[in-house]
Subunit: 348 residues, 2 copies
């Protein structure tokens, strides 16, 4: 078992990021662990001041931690892509976060936009590949700004990257009661990448004869998310499809205020990073309106990853209980009050 202390790198980021991270830390502190935290003021302000999104020296410092808690990055004052690619994706790629784990679960008591769906109908784990695919950054532009402009984006998929992701997903499926794994891709159009993913799933499936294996095109998957979400248990998918379907998953599971994620490096060669799926929401920043629950649930994933299983369960239970008791009264509570309530629950 891990020592009772965590060296935590904290990246509050922009917009509501700092607000929700403060509440996540409050809950973490309430658990009685020793948290040695270093705060890294990265994001829009830092970029405006220095022109840098993530200096190499900072990245190296961050490496020396057990885990990273990140709020949200991005601001309209920064050109689209600069912080996403220069900070968020750089952390994911440099720290080899090859598993982007995103639970999609409808907590009892949460209102879903779907009619006639029960909480037990939505309980999936999306295993999104995190370090390649269309996110590789490959591509370019020729004759920019002319009528002859050509812009390309290349999706890069390796047997190495796909196999470790697929294997992780099978192992996860094997620990869940339903034991079902669905590959989501578009292998009838993206034939090269789709073929690699499909063959890899077929090959690894041989080692997991108890797991029911299914395939679903990404377009059809979005339909099933709203019409038959109970179809899915563990989903394994590429970086871009995972990005899309987990936002949809968050929406059907009651909104982005509850969607947690872990950017995992299961090899342990670098710290994993935990963040809510939501963005920096500059329109509501600084008003105490943000729901910190997604960050608190991300703290739960962090604890799980570091082996603090009991504490992780306490955090999840606190959220589940809190939701049941507060049904319909969300708006009545500030970000801080929500954090206080959750912190009290994990202590109590």
């Amino acid at each position: 078992m891990a020592s009772r202390s965590i060296r935590l790198a904290v990246v509050p980021g922009d917009g509501i990021g700092p607000e929700v991270v403060a509440e996540g830390l409050k809950v973490l502190d309430a658990l009685g662990l020793t948290i040695e935290q270093t705060v890294y003021e990265l994001g829009a302000t830092y970029w405006h001041k220095t022109g840098e999104a993530l200096p190499d020296a900072t990245l190296e410092e961050i490496r020396g931690h057990d885990a990273i808690l990140l709020g949200a990055v991005g601001d309209p004052s920064v050109p689209s892509g600069v912080l996403e690619r220069g900070l968020l994706l750089k952390l994911r790629f440099e720290l080899d976060h090859y598993i982007n784990l995103r639970p999609v679960r409808l907590y009892p008591g949460v209102a879903t936009p779907l009619a006639g769906v029960r909480s037990e109908d939505i309980d999936m784990m999306v295993v999104r590949e995190g370090t390649e695919g269309p996110y590789a950054g490959a591509g370019g532009v020729l004759r920019r700004g002319t009528p002859q402009e050509i812009a390309t984006q290349e999706s890069v998929n390796t047997a190495f990257g796909v196999e470790r992701t697929v294997r992780y997903a099978f192992e996860l499926a094997a620990r869940r009661p339903r034991k079902k794994l669905t590959l989501v891709h578009k292998n009838n159009v993206l034939v090269y990448a789709g073929d690699l993913w499909s063959r890899t799933v077929d090959a690894v499936a041989q080692e997991f004869p108890d797991i029911e294996v299914d395939y679903c095109h990404v377009d059809a998957a979005t339909m099933f998310f709203v019409s038959q979400p109970q179809r899915f248990d563990v989903i394994v998918t590429d970086n871009l499809f995972g990005d899309i379907i987990t936002d949809l998953g968050a929406a059907v599971a009651g909104g982005i205020g509850l969607a947690a994620s872990g950017n995992l490096n299961p090899s342990g060669s670098a710290p994993s990073m935990f963040e809510p799926v939501h963005g920096s929401a500059p329109d509501i920043a600084g008003q105490g309106k943000a729901d910190p629950t997604a960050t608190v649930l991300s703290v739960g994933l962090l604890l799980d990853h570091l082996g603090f299983t009991t504490e992780a369960r306490r955090v999840e239970q606190a959220v589940a209980d809190d939701i049941i008791e507060r049904q319909g009264a969300w708006a009545a509570r500030s970000t801080q009050e929500a954090g206080d309530d959750l912190a009290e629950r994990v202590t109590g």
Copy 2:
């Protein structure tokens, strides 16, 4: 105005394709136009027999028509991608169907899986680019089947292709009461393609000062489709994102049984093609269970495209009336009976 006759190429295809196409033709016949049709037996059976998906000579014959009506292609007995790329996408690319037009509309009386949504909340037109992007077929594989395998897919985007699509979308938005256009992309990650799309929208917007222009990342768009569909009027997007969000759109608008599409070549240099969004559904083929409404609505788009505006409105009205009157009694009617009912309505 066009002459009162239509030279129609009919591709019934696989699974439920022939069944729904028969009903689409029934409705078309009932309108009193002269339809000269040629049926092309392409699809799984033809491929098994000949090893070809679409012979060059057939493609050339099809070119000589005013329009194409297609049912659905694909069968589990054919490797994934063979018919999609060799037949369906080949038609779209060779005939330069650069606009893939997909109405997403909740007809009054149709049950949506979304709670608390009214029919007026879902009324959008998705303008999906049809001849480039990740569908270009560019990519390849190296060291296939080894641990060193690399598979790539390249999204190819040209100013030429993007601009004509964006322009079409603005023109469409200008004819609609809300006059709003939303670009859906992922320009914070797919920076080269996203930049081309964003710049093109900004440039064409100058010519359409009355149109309200918005941008939405594709991941966020899927959330809004379920939480705030009224946010959208005309959407313009790339080939892959359009594929994904229109399936989701079909789901929220009451299911794939109602989703129509037009693969348009607005230049008129080749015939446009009309098809339901749904697939060949081999599991229910031959049982008279398929809903032909999506095909009938696709016939409506076909009539519109050829300038038979009055007839197009009659088809749409027939569907709208039929839905209202049959509320809740869908299952009680066979594919043929549904076609009979709709044909009677357009005559009467």
